[in-house]
């Protein structure tokens, strides 16, 4: 049970971080066109995205992180790799693959706005990767999955 709760918390943290980063990047892009944006408008946007975009990102991250952690455990059981970087790398790679597949299936070129640029994509990968590392450290047995 603890592992499940820690896993769900890890997904929530990863998705929340991704949501906040996307909000900030979007706001920066709009500010570049329209001038400075009032703090109240920025906070309102952050909160809006946490309520509406974060659950979508969590739904995308959840299966990615689950499968990545299982894959990492299988790999780490057979190889002497350092655990945290391996978990991070596998999850980030899986996220990149999943986003590529989603964009192939979706009618629009890129579903998630943050995924439109290399920097934004790397930040998304970092969110899911760090979420998986969070689970790795805080799950009870400190094992991978």
């Amino acid at each position: 049970m603890r592992r499940i709760l820690v896993f769900l918390l890890a997904v929530l943290l990863a998705a929340s971080a991704g949501s906040v980063i996307q909000s900030l990047v979007n706001l920066q892009a709009i500010a570049a066109l329209a001038g400075s944006i009032a703090t109240a408008d920025q906070l309102s946007t952050l909160w809006f995205d946490l309520r509406h975009f974060m659950p979508v990102l969590a739904a995308i991250f959840l299966p990615i992180m689950l499968l990545s952690l299982i894959a990492a455990r299988l790999l780490l059981n057979r190889t002497p790799l350092i655990k945290a970087p391996t978990v991070f790398a596998i999850t980030a790679l899986a996220t990149w693959l999943a986003l590529s597949v989603i964009n192939q299936l979706a009618p629009m070129p890129t579903l998630i706005a943050l995924n439109r640029t290399l920097a934004g994509t790397l930040m998304l990968l970092a969110c899911s990767g760090l979420g998986a590392v969070f689970y790795h450290y805080f799950s009870r047995s400190r094992s991978v999955a």
Binding site: L33, F48, V56, L57, I102, Q104, P107, P109, A113
Partner: protein, 375 residues
């Protein structure tokens, strides 16, 4: 339903829909609903319709065919259009066919289409001559810049103004929405050109440094409906919003229509695109739809067959699967009625025929040409 589509729809079910409330205006029921007659079936993603002066129709199929129909709708010919660099994929391909004002004498027509490759494509405009049911003298006269990756948001609708200049709508390329505010390029703009592709001297930004002189208006997302009303001299357009925020706009040269700074729509993922629904210096829409209807074609009715539609704007909707009739009072929409909902069909284009009847193209791999007439 394909596996790909099921997977994507499953993903989208997770997306909590956000209710953006816009109180719809409801028109009084008409005394008579129009009679719907199917003239042609089996059209492959038909996109645009025009009327030949000799009777009959010329229409485009997105895959690259120019189809000639008799006045009874019978397919007379499907011509593979040999356009330079045509790229047909997803929303791209052969788009609009527009007959020049002097077509009866000159045989000149214009074709908008997507040109390039998957990783570098754009909207192109070609002129050609139509003689003996063949296209001759095909010339590319304009290519929007810069190229983009992906196959979405092209715009591609056209209209010819009384001074013979052409107004061509262009989309933002989806991934490049911020570029709709960048005057150095054509993404998210409506451009105005001479019939040879050159820039009219009275375009609003002519002579300004680092500005694309072809630009007529800016700040658009994906404009797939434009109509010039000779009776009032007004130029109307509509455009797809994202999730919510479809707009009807009254176009004026040099005006900024706001996308993506000012919008009532949000991203398909639920994310907010901008904190602003309006912004100083940017025109507000005359009317908008949330949730989206996906407007894809437009006519302003000035025929005689439907006196009750006189001066109304008719808009075909893809997602909305209806013909939207907008009643205007000056520049305001005062009533809206949804027609043809019983067809449960995505509607691509609507035109007023020279006979005053209304013609509609349905969307899809088995598209139809429909004719609406009074009961």
């Amino acid at each position: 339903m394909s596996l790909n589509r099921m997977l994507f729809l499953s993903l989208m079910l997770v997306v909590a829909p956000v209710a953006l409330t816009t109180e719809p205006l409801t028109a009084d029921p008409l005394p008579t609903k129009p009679k719907v007659q199917t003239l042609t079936e089996g059209l492959e993603y038909p996109w645009s319709l025009s009327f030949l002066p000799s009777g009959g129709f010329l229409l485009t199929e997105r895959s690259g065919q120019l189809v000639t129909l008799g006045s009874d709708g019978q397919v007379l010919q499907k011509l593979d259009v040999n356009l330079p660099d045509l790229y047909a994929a997803s929303q791209g391909g052969l788009l609009e066919v527009l007959l020049a004002e002097d077509f009866a004498q000159s045989g000149r027509l214009f074709l908008s289409y997507v040109c390039g490759t998957a990783n570098a494509n754009s909207v192109c405009l070609a002129s050609a001559n139509w003689q003996d049911n063949q296209l001759t003298d095909v010339k590319q006269i304009f290519r929007a810049t810069p190229d983009r990756r992906g196959a979405a948001h092209y715009g591609g609708r056209m209209v010819q103004l009384p001074d013979q200049s052409l107004v061509l709508t262009l989309g933002d390329g989806f991934d490049y929405r911020e570029q709709a505010q960048n005057k150095t390029n054509h993404l998210g703009k409506i451009v105005r050109l001479q019939q040879d592709g050159s820039v009219p001297a009275d375009n609003p930004f002519v002579g300004q440094a680092a500005v694309a002189a072809e630009i007529f208006t800016l700040g658009h997302r994906n404009v797939q409906g434009i109509v010039y009303d000779a009776a009032t001299g007004k130029l109307w357009s509509h455009e797809h919003g994202p999730k919510g925020g479809d707009e009807l706009n009254l176009l004026q040269a040099g005006v900024n229509y706001g996308w993506p700074v000012a919008t009532t729509g949000i991203d398909y993922t639920g994310a907010r695109i901008s904190p602003f629904t309006r912004f100083t210096g940017m025109a507000e829409p005359v009317y908008q739809w949330s949730p989206s209807i996906a407007p894809a074609g437009m006519t302003l009715y000035r025929g005689e067959a439907f006196p009750q539609y006189q001066g109304n704007i008719l808009i075909t909707a893809l997602a909305g699967k209806a013909l939207h009739r907008l009643v205007l009072d000056g520049d305001k929409v005062v009533e809206e009625e949804k027609l043809l909902t019983e067809l449960d069909s995505r509607l691509r284009d609507v035109r007023t025929g020279p006979d005053g009847l209304i013609y509609i193209l349905t969307d899809g791999p088995a598209g139809k040409l429909l004719r609406l007439s009074p009961q």
